[in-house]
C-alpha cells in the first residue's frame, strides 16, 4: 500500500483543504487592492521628490546583497561573487524615484522569484532535477502564484502613478540568479536558491516597511514580509534544516533600491 493509501485523510481531501485555503487567499486580495488603489490615488506627493528613505535606502551599492553569497551561506552551489556586474542607472535617469523606487524594486524582486520558480518548473519537467517530490511541485506552484500576486499589486501602484510597470527583473543580481538556476542539478540546488531569494525578499520588505514614507506602502510591505518568511520556513523543512532558525528575521540579505537597474 502506498503512503497515501495509509493516510486517514486522502490526498484529494488534503488538496481540497488547500483549495479552501486558496479561496481564503482570494478573499484577502480585494482588501489589498483597495489599499493600493488608495495609494495610487495619492501618488502625486510621492512623485514630487520625496526621498526614498530616512536612512537605510541611502546605503547605496554597498547595501546590495550578493544573493550568490547568500545562497552559498545556505549551501548553494554557486561560487560566483554575486552582486552587480551592471551598474544601476543614475537616479535622475530612472522614472522610479522616492517611494516608487522601492515599489519598482519590490515588483522586480517578485518577478525574479516568479522567473526562478518557473525556471525550476521547466527544469523539473525536462528531467534535469531528477525525481521531484509532489510536495515540492505544489510548493513551487503556490509560491509562484503568490509572488505573481505580489508583483501585480506593486505594478498596480506604478501604473496608478502613470509609470510603466516592471515586467522583467531589472536587478543587478538577475543574471547571476539565472546562471545559478541553469546550473542546478537537483531539487536541493533549486530549493537552496529559492530559500536565499525568499529570505532576501522577507528581509527587503521588513527593511522597506521601516524606511518608506507612505502608510499604504508600509502596510503592504508588512503584509507580504511574513508570507515570504513562511515560504522560507517550508523550504528549510524540505531541505532538512530547522524551519525557524532565528528569533528575529535578520537584515543581512536586504536588497536595497540601488540594485534596481530600471
Amino acid at each position: 500500500m502506498s503512503e497515501q493509501g495509509e493516510m486517514h485523510i486522502s490526498e484529494s481531501e488534503l488538496r481540497s483543504m488547500t483549495d479552501d485555503l486558496d479561496e481564503m487567499h482570494e478573499s484577502t486580495m480585494p482588501e489589498v487592492r483597495r489599499t493600493l488603489a488608495d495609494w495610487g490615488a495619492n501618488l502625486g506627493q510621492l512623485t514630487r521628490g520625496r526621498r526614498a528613505s530616512r536612512r537605510g535606502f541611502l546605503l547605496g551599492a554597498s547595501g546590495v546583497v550578493a544573493l550568490g553569497a547568500a545562497a552559498a551561506c545556505s549551501g548553494g552551489t554557486s561560487s560566483s561573487s554575486g552582486g552587480s556586474s551592471s551598474a544601476a542607472p543614475s537616479r535622475s535617469a530612472s522614472p522610479y524615484t522616492g517611494d516608487l523606487r522601492v515599489v519598482a524594486l519590490a515588483a522586480a524582486l517578485e518577478n525574479l522569484a516568479v522567473t526562478a520558480y518557473k525556471g525550476a518548473q521547466q527544469a523539473a519537467q525536462a528531467g534535469r532535477l531528477g525525481t521531484v517530490p509532489p510536495a515540492v511541485v505544489t510548493f513551487i506552484q503556490t509560491a509562484m502564484k503568490q509572488h505573481a500576486d505580489h508583483a501585480n499589486a506593486w505594478n498596480a501602484v506604478l501604473t496608478g502613478a502613470k509609470l510603466p510597470p516592471i515586467t522583467g527583473a531589472p536587478l543587478t543580481i538577475t543574471q547571476q540568479q539565472v546562471t545559478m538556476l541553469n546550473s542546478a542539478k537537483s531539487v536541493t540546488d533549486v530549493a537552496k536558491q529559492a530559500l536565499a531569494l525568499e529570505n532576501s525578499a522577507a528581509q527587503t520588505y521588513q527593511f522597506a516597511a521601516a524606511n518608506v514614507s507612505s502608510p499604504q506602502g508600509i502596510s503592504t510591505a508588512a503584509t507580504i514580509e511574513p508570507v515570504e518568511a513562511q515560504h522560507a520556513a517550508i523550504l528549510y523543512f524540505v531541505l532538512g534544516q530547522y524551519p525557524v532558525p532565528d528569533a528575529f528575521i535578520k537584515q543581512d540579505q536586504v536588497l536595497t533600491p540601488s540594485a534596481l537597474t530600471a
Binding site: 486580495m29 505544489t138 521601516a210 502596510s219 518568511a229 525557524v244
Partner: protein, 273 residues
C-alpha cells in the same frame, strides 16, 4: 507517535540552529539598541525644541502670542503622544508573548509533547519556540522601558481565559497544535498591523521582524497539523523524507498571499494600567 529520526544529525542541526539563534539574538539586541538610540534622539530633539520655544516665548510673550504659543506646544506634543502609543503597543505585544510562553510551557508538561511519548521534533519545536517567544517578550519589554513605560509581566487579557478553558480539553498533539496555531496567528496579525501603528522606523523593523517569525511558527504548525491529520507523523522529522510528503504539505503552510490583519488585537488591549 512514531519517532523516526537520525538523532545525531538532528543534534547537529540543533547546534547549528542554536548558533544562528544566538547570532540573531545579538543582532536583535543590536537592532533594539539602535531603535532606542533613535527614539532617544527624537525625544531629546522634541524636548530641546519645546524648551527653546518656552524660553523664547516668555510669559509675557506667550500672553501676547496667545494661541500661537499653544499651537507651538501642541506641535511638540504629538511626538510624546507617539511614545505613549508605542509603549502601549509594546506592552500589548509583550502580553501576547507571555501567553505564548505559558502555552508552550504547559504543553511541554504533557506526555505527548514534552514526555517520553513525544515526537522529538515536536518537543524540540515547543522548547525552541517557547524560548523565541521569551526573547520577543524581553525585546518588547526592553523597548517599552526605554521609552519610559512599565514592562508587561502579565498575559493577554482576551486570550488568557480562552487558553485556560482549552487546556483541560487537550487530548492529543492535534489539540495543542490547533491552539498554538491560533495564538501564533493572532500574534503575527497583531504585529503586522502594529508595523503601521508605531512611530519610528526602528520600531517598525522590530515588529516586522517578529511578525515574520510568528508567521513561520504558524507555517510549521500548519504543516505538522496536516501531517497529523494525514496520519503521517513519521514525516514530522528533521530531515524529513521529502519524497513521501503529501503534495498538499508543500503549500498548506502559507494560505494567504498577503498576511491578514482582521484578527489583530487592539493596541491598548494589553497595556499596563
Amino acid at each position: 507517535m512514531e519517532n523516526r529520526i537520525d538523532e545525531r544529525r538532528f543534534a547537529e542541526l540543533m547546534e547549528e540552529s542554536a548558533d544562528r539563534h544566538s547570532d540573531a539574538m545579538h543582532q536583535g539586541r543590536a537592532g533594539l539598541k539602535d531603535y532606542v538610540d533613535v527614539v532617544s534622539d527624537v525625544r531629546a530633539d522634541v524636548r530641546a525644541d519645546a524648551e527653546r520655544e518656552h524660553r523664547r516665548l516668555s510669559p509675557v510673550a506667550l500672553a501676547a502670542a496667545g494661541g500661537a504659543g499653544a499651537l507651538l506646544f501642541a506641535q511638540a506634543v504629538p511626538a510624546w503622544a507617539d511614545s505613549a502609543n508605542d509603549v502601549m503597543v509594546l506592552q500589548t505585544a509583550a502580553g501576547i508573548e507571555n501567553l505564548a510562553v505559558m502555552v508552550y510551557k504547559t504543553a511541554l508538561t504533557l506526555p505527548f509533547v514534552g514526555g517520553s511519548s513525544a515526537n522529538l521534533v515536536v518537543k524540540t519545536f515547543a522548547q525552541r519556540t517557547m524560548q523565541q517567544h521569551q526573547d520577543h517578550a524581553n525585546a518588547f519589554n526592553a523597548a517599552a522601558q526605554q521609552l519610559g513605560g512599565k514592562p508587561q509581566s502579565g498575559t493577554d487579557p482576551k486570550y488568557t481565559p480562552i487558553v485556560q478553558q482549552a487546556v483541560p480539553t487537550i487530548k492529543g498533539p492535534g489539540d495543542v497544535v490547533g491552539l498554538a496555531i491560533t495564538l501564533e496567528d493572532v500574534a503575527a496579525q497583531t504585529y503586522v498591523k502594529d508595523v503601521s501603528l508605531v512611530s519610528t522606523g526602528k520600531l517598525k523593523q522590530l515588529f516586522g521582524s517578529i511578525a515574520g517569525v510568528e508567521a513561520q511558527h504558524k507555517a510549521v504548525l500548519l504543516a505538522v497539523q496536516a501531517l497529523l491529520n494525514a496520519n503521517a507523523p513519521q514525516l514530522i522529522a528533521i530531515p524529513t523524507d521529502a519524497s513521501k510528503l503529501p503534495a498538499a504539505a508543500g503549500s498548506v503552510g502559507f494560505p494567504d498571499a498577503f498576511y491578514p490583519t482582521a484578527n489583530a488585537l487592539p493596541a491598548s488591549e494589553g497595556a499596563v494600567k
